[in-house]
């Protein structure tokens, strides 16, 4: 457990929760990232500005911390796996109506049955995928 860091994890989690609360209180929306980004790909002008602003904030907020602290970003998968994985994450999150933020966080917080099923599915399948790629093949 060399990487285990419960305190920074918990502190980051509180901030993520605060971001979710802000989105709900101000704009009345779920802070689901695959939905916000996916909505940018289909042109609906009324929503484009706030969606783009959220994505810009996401990059800039992380960049602010990256420039101040040492944040490891270790992408260890080979390029073909990165491309296949990216395609599956993009297509799958849109087909399944959400990702870790929309289902795993907002949906669980709303006690949505759909989100509980989705979250159990993607966590379970991801764990199985890691098991197969790391310990079997």
């Amino acid at each position: 457990m060399g990487d285990f860091s419960p305190i920074s994890g918990f502190a980051g989690g509180l901030l993520i929760g605060l971001a979710v609360a802000l989105m709900l209180l101000l704009n009345g929306r779920v802070a689901g990232i695959s939905g916000i980004v996916g909505g940018l790909l289909t042109l609906r002008t009324r929503d484009t500005l706030w969606r783009a602003a959220f994505v810009a904030g996401l990059v800039l907020g992380a960049l602010g911390y990256l420039s101040a602290a040492d944040v490891p970003v270790r992408v260890l998968a080979p390029l073909p796996a990165i491309l296949v994985g990216g395609l599956l994450v993009g297509f799958g999150t849109r087909l399944g109506s959400g990702c870790t933020s929309g289902h795993g966080l907002c949906g669980m917080a709303r006690l949505s049955r759909r989100s509980v099923v989705a979250t159990a599915t993607f966590f379970g399948v991801a764990m199985l995928t890691v098991f197969l790629t790391r310990h079997v093949f």
Partner: protein, 141 residues
């Protein structure tokens, strides 16, 4: 028009806090996320603490804020209303799980990590956007 600008400013603020939180949490690091998913290996439970911290704020937020009747900058709440546990929900989540397990990136951390300038991050986000566009092209909502 002005209200659109306020809504965008609110979304920017939420995005900034979200991005900062992802960076602080360590979840922008795919190797660490895979460390959580690898239950048979050298298991790193940090992700559970991130989820715990986030839910500690999000659960009361979703319990109390909707009682206001309307959000501050919109006429009404726009929350998902679907109830059915259907094939797209489970199938899509399973496909997402395979991709997440292969790379260790889900959408938020991948986009937040663009600021590193790392080529593999850009490759992942480009493929992810292509997957999303493919879904839209096939008539998905």
């Amino acid at each position: 028009m002005a209200s659109n600008v306020f809504r965008a400013a609110a979304a920017l603020a939420s995005g900034l806090v979200f991005g900062l939180g992802l960076a602080v949490s360590g979840m922008m690091d795919p190797a660490r996320v895979i460390g959580f998913l690898d239950v048979a290996g050298d298991w790193d439970p940090t992700l559970a603490f991130v989820m715990g911290g986030a839910l500690l704020v999000a659960v009361p937020a979703y319990r109390f804020i909707p009682r206001r009747g309307r959000p501050l900058l919109e006429e009404e709440f726009s929350l998902p209303e679907k109830k059915a546990i259907d094939t797209p929900l489970v199938g899509g989540s399973a496909l997402f799980g395979v991709g997440w397990g292969l790379v260790g990136f889900c959408p938020g951390p991948a986009i937040a990590a663009l600021g590193t300038g790392f080529v593999p991050v850009f490759a992942f986000v480009a493929a992810m956007l292509a997957g999303m566009a493919l879904h839209a092209r096939l008539g998905g909502s």
